[in-house]
Amino acid sequence: MTMSRYVVGTLVIAIVGGAYVLFVASPYLQAVTAVILIYTVAVSGLNLLAGYGGYPNLGQATFMGVAAYFSAWATNNIDWGFWPLLLVAPLIAAGVALVVALPLLRLKGQYFAIATLLLGVVLTTILANAKNLGGSVGIGGFDRPGTGSVQWLTVLIVITALVTLGCARVVTLPVGRHLLAIRRDESLSESIGIPVYRRKLQAFVLGGLIGGVAGVLLSYNSYFISPDLFSFYESFLLFVALIVGGSGTVSGPLLGSAFMVGLPELFRFAAEGRYLTMGLVFIIVMAIAPDGIAGLGQRLAASMSPLLPNSRGRPEPAPATPTPMKTGV
């Protein structure tokens, strides 16, 4: 798919879907859609390093938390509104990502995953002890821009569409094909001249930036935030959404988020049972359909050829197939 096709696709979904949600859907569905959109933004950020790059980043919720709590502090102490925070808070989150990336990216894939989980623990601990930010109880003070839920929802739709297109654009650049190569085999990629460390850093920081955007959106959507919204557990759920939707694809984040947010709603009757079900579904998905929903769709569409996402302008990844060879960690 070329960039122009992504643009068209996104616009169509945004306009048609948006029109339905804004004018026809019930307030309940609108609320659920809002959460799905916010999740989509967060997962899109995660998609860069974890999806395309194949690097297990299990700390995306942490960056959401950094931006969310920065916003909380800013609204309550220096009276900033939504728009300035939407610009600045993600930058703060990206800054944290940059600082954290320096030691963490030197770890092998599996250990990197563990370290990113620990990040979540660190953040939740610090936040739970931050009395002037509400401690473990939480903090509020957010005032949505505009009047009414239709306007807010429109804001969400527009931002989600922009983020999705932004990520699609990034993927069509050299960094995109580099990430895909890194996912396949890191050592081999380095030996052909791909700046592996730099790419991982860029993907990580950009992912953190986008996660920050999601964090701001979440704060203003729920009016109230607390540390456990950004725990390592939430990071894991974001990761599940990515895998189920289809890692390394443009539509994956939206599909996965719809699944992750929608499924518990369907199973609302059994409170603990739904997590059990989600966990089981995840394990099964990993075993039989590692490309997620988007991958299944691609395979059904059948016209797959091993793709080279660069000069030929086709930025999609080829699904990972079995190989007896050593592939890099």
Binding site: S191, L308, T323, M325
Partner: protein
């Protein structure tokens, strides 16, 4: 082309590479041999920049690349192949080489041309569209070679390229490697155990043992050198 001076690297007290110095002349094929544990893998790691040296310098074409990051070394003309078969398994042979060529080419056409050149050089043009995992062992090893050459390097480091080949497959690998300096304008640093390969293609040999260079010279001299024979306990060096 390549000048290594006083290279040193230890791991927790063990001197893996101990004051190693040697040169590789332009468009020549130099071999590095030595028993297991002699420090060959560490040497490769140091040359490519994956491990930082604790002393000494590495110069490529006169320029000191000792502090360059691995990918930068590739961009200034160093390339390598791996001991284990490493390829982008789900891509075709052509796409494997193309991926590498794109990093260094000026534009799409240049990249495609380089790719076809490299595939032709190793004789894989016929299977260019086959998925890498479906190639046979020799083809996969040759594909690794083609991928390494796709960046147009000035020196390519071949890490046991002939692993798993014998008989006529080995012959093909040998004659392909022999053509590298002439046809690709590229020097070769060959690291291998296979005596037949090393003796036939290398104009110069360096022998490592316990991280030190214990002998260096022409293949015929090295073959008869008692220190080398001792290092190998008389097995491979004598019987090849």
């Amino acid at each position: 082309m390549l000048e290594v001076s006083n290279l040193r690297r230890s791991f927790g007290g063990v001197k893996a590479v101990d004051d190693v110095s040697f040169t590789v002349d332009k468009n020549s094929i130099v071999g590095v041999i030595g028993p297991n544990g002699a420090g060959k893998s560490t040497l490769v790691s140091l040359l490519m920049g994956n491990t930082k040296q604790m002393g000494g310098t590495i110069r490529l074409g006169g320029v000191d690349i000792s502090k360059y990051a691995p990918h930068r070394r590739v961009h200034v003309g160093l390339a390598r192949t791996f001991q284990e078969t490493r390829l982008f398994g789900d891509l075709s042979a052509r796409d494997n080489v193309l991926l590498a060529a794109t990093e260094h080419a000026r534009g799409v056409d240049d990249a495609l041309r380089q790719t076809d050149d490299c595939l032709e050089f190793v004789g894989l043009t016929g299977v260019a569209d086959t998925v890498a995992t479906k190639l046979n062992h020799l083809e996969q090893r040759l594909l690794m070679l083609a991928t390494g050459l796709a960046s147009g390097p000035r020196l390519i480091l071949l890490d046991e390229p002939a692993v798993g080949t014998a008989g006529h497959e080995l012959t093909r690998m040998i004659e392909t490697i022999e053509r590298i300096p002439r046809e690709r304008d590229c020097s070769v640093l060959l690291i291998d155990h296979n005596m037949r390969l090393v003796m036939s293609v290398c104009s110069h040999l360096i022998v490592l043992d316990f991280g030190k260079v214990i002998a260096s010279g022409e293949p015929a001299e090295i073959r008869a050198d008692p220190r080398v024979i001792e290092a190998y306990f008389g097995s491979e060096a004598v019987h090849g």
